[in-house]
Protein backbone atom coordinates (compact mmCIF):
# COMPACT_ATOMS: atom_id res chain seq x y z
CA UNK A 1 0.00 0.00 0.00
CA UNK A 2 1.46 3.33 -0.96
CA UNK A 3 2.31 5.71 1.83
CA UNK A 4 0.50 8.60 0.17
CA UNK A 5 -2.73 7.44 1.75
CA UNK A 6 -1.83 10.01 4.38
CA UNK A 7 -1.82 12.88 1.94
CA UNK A 8 -2.74 16.24 3.33
CA UNK A 9 -6.09 16.59 1.55
CA UNK A 10 -7.58 13.93 3.77
CA UNK A 11 -8.98 15.33 7.01
CA UNK A 12 -6.98 14.05 9.93
CA UNK A 13 -10.12 12.79 11.69
CA UNK A 14 -10.85 10.26 9.00
CA UNK A 15 -7.21 9.24 9.15
CA UNK A 16 -7.75 7.79 12.58
CA UNK A 17 -11.37 6.79 11.96
CA UNK A 18 -10.34 4.65 9.03
CA UNK A 19 -7.85 2.63 11.01
CA UNK A 20 -8.09 -0.83 9.64
CA UNK A 21 -5.25 -3.12 10.58
CA UNK A 22 -3.51 -2.88 7.23
CA UNK A 23 -3.78 0.89 7.28
CA UNK A 24 -2.48 0.88 10.82
CA UNK A 25 0.56 -1.01 9.64
CA UNK A 26 1.34 1.43 6.89
CA UNK A 27 0.68 4.35 9.20
CA UNK A 28 3.18 2.98 11.70
CA UNK A 29 5.60 2.42 8.87
CA UNK A 30 5.07 6.00 7.83
CA UNK A 31 5.73 7.22 11.37
CA UNK A 32 8.81 5.05 11.50
CA UNK A 33 10.11 6.44 8.22
CA UNK A 34 9.46 9.97 9.52
CA UNK A 35 12.15 9.31 12.13
CA UNK A 36 14.75 9.23 9.37
CA UNK A 37 13.73 12.70 8.25
CA UNK A 38 14.76 14.06 11.64
CA UNK A 39 18.25 15.39 11.04
CA UNK A 40 20.55 16.03 13.97
CA UNK A 41 20.07 19.54 15.35
CA UNK A 42 23.23 21.29 14.24
CA UNK A 43 24.10 24.93 14.63
CA UNK A 44 24.64 25.22 10.89
CA UNK A 45 21.35 27.02 10.53
CA UNK A 46 22.46 29.33 7.79
CA UNK A 47 22.27 27.60 4.41
CA UNK A 48 24.96 29.97 3.12
CA UNK A 49 27.39 28.19 5.44
CA UNK A 50 26.74 24.83 3.82
CA UNK A 51 28.63 23.35 0.89
CA UNK A 52 26.25 22.87 -2.07
CA UNK A 53 27.65 19.38 -2.66
CA UNK A 54 25.83 17.21 -0.03
CA UNK A 55 28.64 14.63 0.02
CA UNK A 56 31.26 17.24 0.91
CA UNK A 57 28.86 18.91 3.37
CA UNK A 58 28.36 15.55 5.11
CA UNK A 59 32.14 15.14 5.38
CA UNK A 60 32.51 18.66 6.76
CA UNK A 61 29.86 17.86 9.39
CA UNK A 62 31.69 14.68 10.37
CA UNK A 63 34.95 16.63 10.78
CA UNK A 64 33.28 19.51 12.60
CA UNK A 65 31.52 17.20 15.03
CA UNK A 66 34.94 15.91 16.12
CA UNK A 67 36.30 19.39 16.80
CA UNK A 68 35.76 21.15 20.09
CA UNK A 69 34.41 24.68 20.21
CA UNK A 70 37.13 26.30 22.33
CA UNK A 71 34.80 28.99 23.62
CA UNK A 72 32.13 26.68 25.05
CA UNK A 73 34.52 23.70 25.48
CA UNK A 74 31.85 21.02 25.76
CA UNK A 75 30.28 21.48 22.34
CA UNK A 76 31.52 20.62 18.89
CA UNK A 77 31.96 23.46 16.44
CA UNK A 78 28.98 22.02 14.52
CA UNK A 79 26.79 22.45 17.61
CA UNK A 80 28.02 25.83 18.76
CA UNK A 81 26.68 29.28 17.96
CA UNK A 82 29.90 31.02 19.04
CA UNK A 83 31.56 33.33 16.52
CA UNK A 84 34.79 31.36 16.68
CA UNK A 85 32.91 28.12 15.98
CA UNK A 86 31.28 29.69 12.95
CA UNK A 87 34.68 30.83 11.68
CA UNK A 88 36.16 27.35 12.27
CA UNK A 89 33.19 25.75 10.46
CA UNK A 90 33.91 28.02 7.53
CA UNK A 91 37.56 26.99 7.52
CA UNK A 92 36.64 23.28 7.69
CA UNK A 93 34.34 23.71 4.67
CA UNK A 94 36.91 25.70 2.70
CA UNK A 95 39.50 22.99 3.28
CA UNK A 96 37.07 20.17 2.43
CA UNK A 97 36.18 21.92 -0.84
CA UNK A 98 39.91 22.41 -1.49
CA UNK A 99 40.28 18.62 -1.37
CA UNK A 100 41.89 18.17 2.05
CA UNK A 101 41.36 14.83 3.79
CA UNK A 102 39.61 14.60 7.19
CA UNK A 103 43.00 13.92 8.83
CA UNK A 104 44.56 16.97 7.19
CA UNK A 105 41.79 19.27 8.37
CA UNK A 106 42.00 17.93 11.92
CA UNK A 107 45.81 18.22 11.87
CA UNK A 108 45.43 21.87 10.81
CA UNK A 109 43.24 22.51 13.87
CA UNK A 110 45.54 20.55 16.23
CA UNK A 111 48.53 22.61 15.02
CA UNK A 112 46.74 25.74 16.23
CA UNK A 113 44.79 24.61 19.27
CA UNK A 114 46.55 21.45 20.40
CA UNK A 115 44.99 18.05 21.00
CA UNK A 116 42.38 19.69 23.23
CA UNK A 117 40.52 20.69 20.07
CA UNK A 118 39.82 17.03 19.32
CA UNK A 119 36.70 15.70 21.00
CA UNK A 120 38.13 12.21 20.45
CA UNK A 121 41.66 12.53 21.79
CA UNK A 122 44.42 10.38 20.26
CA UNK A 123 45.96 7.46 22.14
CA UNK A 124 48.96 8.84 24.01
CA UNK A 125 50.58 8.70 27.44
CA UNK A 126 48.03 11.00 29.10
CA UNK A 127 45.07 9.18 27.54
CA UNK A 128 46.43 5.67 28.23
CA UNK A 129 43.98 4.86 31.02
CA UNK A 130 41.12 6.50 29.12
CA UNK A 131 41.40 3.91 26.37
CA UNK A 132 43.04 1.03 28.22
CA UNK A 133 40.69 0.86 31.23
CA UNK A 134 38.07 -1.43 29.58
CA UNK A 135 40.78 -3.82 28.37
CA UNK A 136 42.60 -3.70 31.71
CA UNK A 137 39.33 -4.28 33.56
CA UNK A 138 38.54 -7.29 31.42
CA UNK A 139 42.06 -8.67 31.86
CA UNK A 140 42.15 -8.17 35.62
CA UNK A 141 38.60 -9.51 36.04
CA UNK A 142 39.39 -12.51 33.84
CA UNK A 143 42.59 -13.23 35.77
CA UNK A 144 40.76 -12.94 39.11
CA UNK A 145 38.02 -15.31 37.91
CA UNK A 146 40.56 -17.79 36.58
CA UNK A 147 42.59 -17.66 39.79
CA UNK A 148 39.50 -18.10 41.94
CA UNK A 149 38.31 -21.08 39.89
CA UNK A 150 41.73 -22.70 40.00
CA UNK A 151 41.84 -22.36 43.77
CA UNK A 152 38.36 -23.88 44.05
CA UNK A 153 39.38 -26.84 41.89
CA UNK A 154 42.72 -27.36 43.59
CA UNK A 155 41.27 -27.10 47.10
CA UNK A 156 41.23 -30.55 48.81
CA UNK A 157 37.83 -32.21 49.02
CA UNK A 158 36.19 -31.60 52.41
CA UNK A 159 36.56 -34.38 54.99
CA UNK A 160 33.65 -36.84 55.08
CA UNK A 161 31.03 -36.26 57.77
CA UNK A 162 31.70 -37.75 61.16
CA UNK A 163 29.05 -40.21 62.48
CA UNK A 164 27.83 -37.49 64.89
CA UNK A 165 27.35 -35.03 62.04
CA UNK A 166 25.62 -37.73 59.98
CA UNK A 167 23.21 -38.34 62.84
CA UNK A 168 22.50 -34.63 63.29
CA UNK A 169 21.84 -34.29 59.53
CA UNK A 170 19.38 -37.22 59.59
CA UNK A 171 17.66 -35.64 62.55
CA UNK A 172 17.29 -32.30 60.73
CA UNK A 173 16.13 -33.69 57.40
CA UNK A 174 14.04 -36.44 58.94
CA UNK A 175 15.61 -38.96 56.63
CA UNK A 176 17.87 -41.85 57.29
Amino acid sequence: MPLNCLSADRPSKSLFASFSSEKEDSFLLFLFLLLFLATPALAVSDPIEMIPNPKLEARAEVIGSQLRCLVCQNESIEDSQADLARELRKIVRQQVVAGKTNQQVIAWMVARYGNFVRLRPPFMASTFFLYATPVLGLLIGGLAAWWGRRRAIEAPAPAPLTPAEQARLSELTGKL
Binding site: L70, D83, R112, Y113, F116
Partner: protein, 186 residues
Amino acid sequence: MSVTRRHLLALVPLGLAGAAGVAFWRMLDRMKVGKFDPHDIGNPLVGRPVPNFSLPGLGDKPGFDAAALRAAAAKQPLLVNFYASWCIPCAEEADILGSLAAQGVLLWGVAYEEKDTWKKYLEQYGDPYQRLADDRNGRVAIDWGVYGVPETFLIDRAGIVRWHRAGPLTPDAVRDELQPALRAVA
Protein backbone atom coordinates in the same frame (compact mmCIF):
# COMPACT_ATOMS: atom_id res chain seq x y z
CA MET B 1 35.90 -16.72 52.17
CA SER B 2 37.10 -15.74 55.60
CA VAL B 3 35.65 -12.67 57.25
CA THR B 4 38.96 -10.82 57.41
CA ARG B 5 39.53 -11.14 53.67
CA ARG B 6 36.02 -9.86 53.01
CA HIS B 7 36.76 -6.88 55.19
CA LEU B 8 40.00 -6.22 53.35
CA LEU B 9 38.20 -6.36 49.99
CA ALA B 10 35.56 -3.94 51.26
CA LEU B 11 38.36 -1.49 52.02
CA VAL B 12 39.47 -1.41 48.37
CA PRO B 13 36.64 0.83 47.05
CA LEU B 14 36.91 2.93 50.20
CA GLY B 15 40.61 3.39 49.56
CA LEU B 16 39.99 4.31 45.93
CA ALA B 17 37.34 6.85 46.93
CA GLY B 18 39.74 8.29 49.49
CA ALA B 19 42.52 8.61 46.91
CA ALA B 20 40.14 10.35 44.48
CA GLY B 21 39.10 12.73 47.27
CA VAL B 22 42.70 13.61 48.08
CA ALA B 23 43.46 14.20 44.39
CA PHE B 24 40.40 16.45 44.03
CA TRP B 25 41.29 18.38 47.16
CA ARG B 26 44.84 18.91 45.86
CA MET B 27 43.44 20.14 42.53
CA LEU B 28 41.21 22.68 44.28
CA ASP B 29 44.12 23.79 46.43
CA ARG B 30 46.35 24.33 43.39
CA MET B 31 43.54 26.28 41.71
CA LYS B 32 43.28 28.53 44.75
CA VAL B 33 46.96 29.48 44.66
CA GLY B 34 46.86 29.91 40.88
CA LYS B 35 49.07 26.93 40.04
CA PHE B 36 46.36 25.09 38.16
CA ASP B 37 43.80 26.52 35.73
CA PRO B 38 41.30 23.99 34.37
CA HIS B 39 40.42 26.42 31.58
CA ASP B 40 44.03 26.72 30.43
CA ILE B 41 44.24 24.55 27.35
CA GLY B 42 47.82 25.53 26.55
CA ASN B 43 48.88 26.93 23.22
CA PRO B 44 51.00 24.80 20.88
CA LEU B 45 52.62 28.00 19.57
CA VAL B 46 54.72 28.35 22.73
CA GLY B 47 58.26 27.33 21.80
CA ARG B 48 57.56 27.79 18.09
CA PRO B 49 58.13 30.71 15.69
CA VAL B 50 55.32 33.18 15.08
CA PRO B 51 53.05 32.15 12.20
CA ASN B 52 53.08 34.02 8.92
CA PHE B 53 50.51 36.76 8.58
CA SER B 54 50.07 40.30 7.38
CA LEU B 55 47.53 42.74 8.79
CA PRO B 56 46.66 46.35 7.97
CA GLY B 57 46.83 49.02 10.65
CA LEU B 58 43.93 50.28 12.73
CA GLY B 59 43.39 54.05 12.68
CA ASP B 60 46.66 55.98 12.38
CA LYS B 61 48.81 53.17 13.78
CA PRO B 62 50.73 51.03 11.31
CA GLY B 63 49.80 47.35 11.08
CA PHE B 64 52.41 44.62 10.84
CA ASP B 65 53.32 41.26 9.40
CA ALA B 66 55.41 38.38 10.71
CA ALA B 67 58.62 39.82 9.21
CA ALA B 68 58.15 43.21 10.91
CA LEU B 69 57.37 41.43 14.18
CA ARG B 70 60.51 39.31 13.97
CA ALA B 71 62.66 42.32 13.06
CA ALA B 72 61.38 44.33 16.03
CA ALA B 73 61.66 41.40 18.46
CA ALA B 74 65.27 40.82 17.35
CA LYS B 75 66.12 44.22 18.85
CA GLN B 76 63.87 43.99 21.89
CA PRO B 77 61.57 41.10 22.90
CA LEU B 78 57.96 42.26 22.70
CA LEU B 79 54.43 41.40 23.70
CA VAL B 80 51.65 40.81 21.19
CA ASN B 81 48.26 41.48 22.77
CA PHE B 82 45.00 40.38 21.12
CA TYR B 83 42.12 42.52 22.37
CA ALA B 84 38.78 43.98 21.31
CA SER B 85 36.76 47.03 22.28
CA TRP B 86 33.73 44.82 22.99
CA CYS B 87 35.68 42.65 25.44
CA ILE B 88 35.24 43.38 29.14
CA PRO B 89 38.33 41.49 30.44
CA CYS B 90 40.37 43.53 27.93
CA ALA B 91 39.27 46.73 29.66
CA GLU B 92 40.19 45.07 32.99
CA GLU B 93 43.79 44.55 31.92
CA ALA B 94 44.10 47.96 30.21
CA ASP B 95 45.73 49.59 33.25
CA ILE B 96 48.30 46.80 33.51
CA LEU B 97 49.15 47.09 29.81
CA GLY B 98 49.53 50.85 30.28
CA SER B 99 51.95 50.45 33.15
CA LEU B 100 53.94 47.79 31.26
CA ALA B 101 54.27 50.19 28.32
CA ALA B 102 55.32 52.95 30.73
CA GLN B 103 58.05 50.62 32.05
CA GLY B 104 59.43 50.34 28.52
CA VAL B 105 57.91 46.97 27.54
CA LEU B 106 57.24 46.87 23.79
CA LEU B 107 53.55 46.17 23.13
CA TRP B 108 52.06 45.45 19.73
CA GLY B 109 48.30 45.09 19.56
CA VAL B 110 46.01 43.02 17.38
CA ALA B 111 42.41 44.25 17.38
CA TYR B 112 40.27 41.10 17.13
CA GLU B 113 36.95 41.17 15.23
CA GLU B 114 36.78 44.87 16.01
CA LYS B 115 33.60 46.90 15.76
CA ASP B 116 32.94 50.62 15.23
CA THR B 117 33.59 51.17 18.93
CA TRP B 118 37.35 50.65 18.51
CA LYS B 119 38.22 54.35 18.61
CA LYS B 120 36.14 55.15 21.66
CA TYR B 121 37.69 52.19 23.51
CA LEU B 122 41.25 53.40 22.91
CA GLU B 123 40.28 56.93 24.00
CA GLN B 124 38.67 55.64 27.18
CA TYR B 125 41.10 52.89 28.22
CA GLY B 126 44.32 54.20 26.67
CA ASP B 127 46.41 52.98 23.78
CA PRO B 128 49.61 51.28 24.97
CA TYR B 129 50.42 49.82 21.55
CA GLN B 130 53.34 50.87 19.36
CA ARG B 131 51.70 49.19 16.42
CA LEU B 132 48.10 48.16 16.05
CA ALA B 133 46.90 45.59 13.53
CA ASP B 134 43.30 45.11 12.45
CA ASP B 135 42.23 41.43 12.41
CA ARG B 136 38.67 42.18 11.34
CA ASN B 137 37.54 38.60 10.61
CA GLY B 138 39.72 36.94 13.27
CA ARG B 139 41.52 34.62 10.85
CA VAL B 140 45.03 35.61 11.96
CA ALA B 141 43.95 35.03 15.57
CA ILE B 142 43.04 31.45 14.64
CA ASP B 143 46.54 30.95 13.21
CA TRP B 144 47.88 32.06 16.59
CA GLY B 145 45.59 29.61 18.38
CA VAL B 146 43.65 32.47 19.98
CA TYR B 147 40.19 31.37 21.13
CA GLY B 148 39.09 34.49 22.97
CA VAL B 149 40.32 37.91 23.93
CA PRO B 150 42.45 39.06 25.60
CA GLU B 151 45.43 36.81 24.89
CA THR B 152 49.04 37.87 25.23
CA PHE B 153 52.19 36.38 23.66
CA LEU B 154 55.84 37.09 24.45
CA ILE B 155 58.14 36.96 21.41
CA ASP B 156 61.88 36.53 22.01
CA ARG B 157 64.78 37.81 19.90
CA ALA B 158 64.70 34.75 17.66
CA GLY B 159 61.04 35.32 16.86
CA ILE B 160 59.97 32.38 19.03
CA VAL B 161 56.87 32.56 21.23
CA ARG B 162 58.22 32.12 24.76
CA TRP B 163 55.19 32.75 26.94
CA HIS B 164 51.46 32.95 26.48
CA ARG B 165 48.43 33.81 28.57
CA ALA B 166 44.78 33.34 27.62
CA GLY B 167 42.76 35.77 29.68
CA PRO B 168 43.46 39.16 31.22
CA LEU B 169 46.81 39.99 32.79
CA THR B 170 46.48 40.33 36.55
CA PRO B 171 49.05 41.80 38.97
CA ASP B 172 49.77 38.23 40.18
CA ALA B 173 50.23 36.92 36.63
CA VAL B 174 52.58 39.80 35.79
CA ARG B 175 54.66 39.29 38.94
CA ASP B 176 54.76 35.47 38.91
CA GLU B 177 54.80 34.68 35.19
CA LEU B 178 55.33 37.61 32.84
CA GLN B 179 58.19 39.39 34.67
CA PRO B 180 60.27 36.17 35.01
CA ALA B 181 59.57 35.39 31.33
CA LEU B 182 60.62 38.91 30.33
CA ARG B 183 63.83 38.58 32.36
CA ALA B 184 64.54 35.22 30.72
CA VAL B 185 64.39 36.63 27.18
CA ALA B 186 65.95 40.05 27.93
